[in-house]
Amino acid sequence: MVKNHEAQRDVEKITIALIGYPNCGKTTLFNKLIGASKSVGNWSGVTVDQARGVVQLNDSVLEIVDLPGIYSLYDSDSALDAKITREHLFNAPSQLILNVLDINDLERQLFLTIQLIEMGLPLILLLNMQDIGIRHGIAVDVRKLSKLLNIPVLTMVARDGIGLEQLKETILKQTAPSAIKEVGCKVGDMGDSTAIELYKKSNNLIQKIYDENIQERIFELGGMFHVEQVNKRWRALSLLEDVDFQNTKPHDKLLAQFDYYESTAVIPNISLEIATQRHNFARELSQEVISDHKKQTNYIQNALDKILLSKLLGLPVFFILMYCMFTFSIVVGESLQGIFEQLGEKILVNIPNLILDWLGTAFFIKFFLIEGVARGIVTVIAFIPVIGGLYLFLSFLEESGYMSRAAFIIENFMYRLGLPGKAFFPLLIGFGCNVPAIMASRILENHKDRIIVAMITPFMSCGARLSIYALFCSAFFVHSSASVVFGLYMVGIIVGLATGVITRKILAHKTNPLMIMDLPKYQLPNPFSIIKKTASRVADFAFGAGKWIVIVYVLFTALNSITTDFKFITDNKAPAAISSPHRSILQATGSYIHPLFIPIGVKEENWQASVALVTGIFAKEVVVGAFYALYGIDETETNLTFIKQKLLIGFKTNMAVFAYLVFILLYFPCISVFGVIASEFGVKWAVFSAVWSTVIAYVTAYAIYNASNLL
């Protein structure tokens, strides 16, 4: 039986790490093992940080660590996600490694397995995606592979949980104290000449990886290490591959470096030679264990690539798909928005209202619960369809395998703007939410590239802002809502890219143009998986951002219902004039900042529009909730109809509305984004992002409104 548990102090915790190439199914397996729903996707770089989960298996408490994918232990790639994996392995190795491999890509992925074996780590090899392997006619002799490598090898389909029970049994066997001891000395250490001779004579598989020249260098260098140094062979090999370790003793390091230079004189490019021989060995090994491989040409995969990667069609298809994504979110979202709102209104406002009346609840409590909390929640519910639509489409693209193709298509364009092709991923995620997007910038190798991406990301219009556009479009741009929203996204992209150019100049940085990127296989997205992923993201919005919407809604309802002389306004449907002595606290506050927004087209009496912008600093989607709270609600109308009527008389022209939306799109990133930039890159960059975005937002909105008046 497997259950989620908090750390149990009375039982020793065994740490198990999931390691493998990017996109081989580690996170899917992690979710299955601990019963979580961490985001997965069909592209390299979904996992950018390690995730931990605790699970109890019989009497053992296991801590499972899901690590970002890597191609090689000695990958000098400095991407932060790869560094996290290497640091975990080198500095805090787990008691057991679950090395996940895509069974359809055995030849390549055994490269990493061999490195892990050479490192002397206790290992279970998991050949994942067996179902696809069977469809492609790939049959692996698991027993033979296990015997050759002297480690347990299992096949599985992590997505469907096939092979999971067998894996749990094997984990229990391998984590038994006797098993751990046995594996620890498998690779062998070299201390003196007798030990070396014994090792050479043994039938260890590792003996067969490299040719005699390299073997000699390994033995020679291993023998130079301090006698107490553990796993000398691996350390010698690593140093020959030009890899340094923090925990190698300084004396040994000097000797090793000396010998490394000697070795390069004997074997030029020794590190490349070692890697090549290891790869060749992995290829021979895979050929030996793949017993039945009917080489099949996948016509559908190739045909799709012919279209989606072609010089002529690649870019148009990319833009059409992006346009479809926004149209889909708006059209599907808006068609369901009314239904969601009415349903929420009935369940959360009307029924509780009757119950509270029947209970004779005090007016203040009823006002707080109904006008504040309940209406706040209804506001969140009303925008779930729009955000859900966007997430559904994004999840579809992620699962299909198109995302990496899109990155290739626009890589040249990105490079011209001073960004590596992979920067496309975090920027695209930014259309969902800016916070994970900035985290996703960890897939980039260069720190300065990461800073540039972090400065651009807040201009990628997130799902939260979409709820604001949807509200305004339903009032002002009924027949052209998709085009207006697309236009707003484009403004965001253009300003974002200009910001990238400026940041690059500030950092005096030139992007490394050496793109090397794996393209995953296309797959028909699994509807269940897409819905699950969308639901998880919508839940993040509802319980994460939604929580803030409700809090701010309640707060602003209160501030809008109490006058500056602390009297309660029972009817806030017709707010007092801005100069009235009986104006609410919020009106009074709005009066101070409101003059700033009149030049961008907001009417003088519409102070609510200015106050709503202040609330957006907490979270952009709060702007919608603030409008509802600030305008008050007419009981004879639905919220949406009423708010539209209020909006229609609050702006000077339709272009003023567009300018206002542009300001919302570009100004201060929300508190969460500010926080994540500060934590990843320092407060200086967070402040830069906040100030720059607000200034550029005002200038752009002012220019749009005033230019439209000249026409």
Partner: protein, 76 residues
Amino acid sequence: MGSPLNQYAINEKLILNEIRCDQTTAMKLISMGITVNSTISIIAKRADGAVVIAAGNAKIALGKIVAENLIVGNDA
């Protein structure tokens, strides 16, 4: 011997003769299965010289500079 990878046509079967990239890039290529003597073919090309290649079961996108520094010959 041979010519830069991006000078060849789509679908031609090629043998990788030499990797002329810096050590970091070369190590990355090897760990991704692109080694000297391996068979590759171009499946897509971009106007600027970037390519997508098929190497074994994998499809890998390579930027212009990487593609220029992979010296290949026809797989006769």
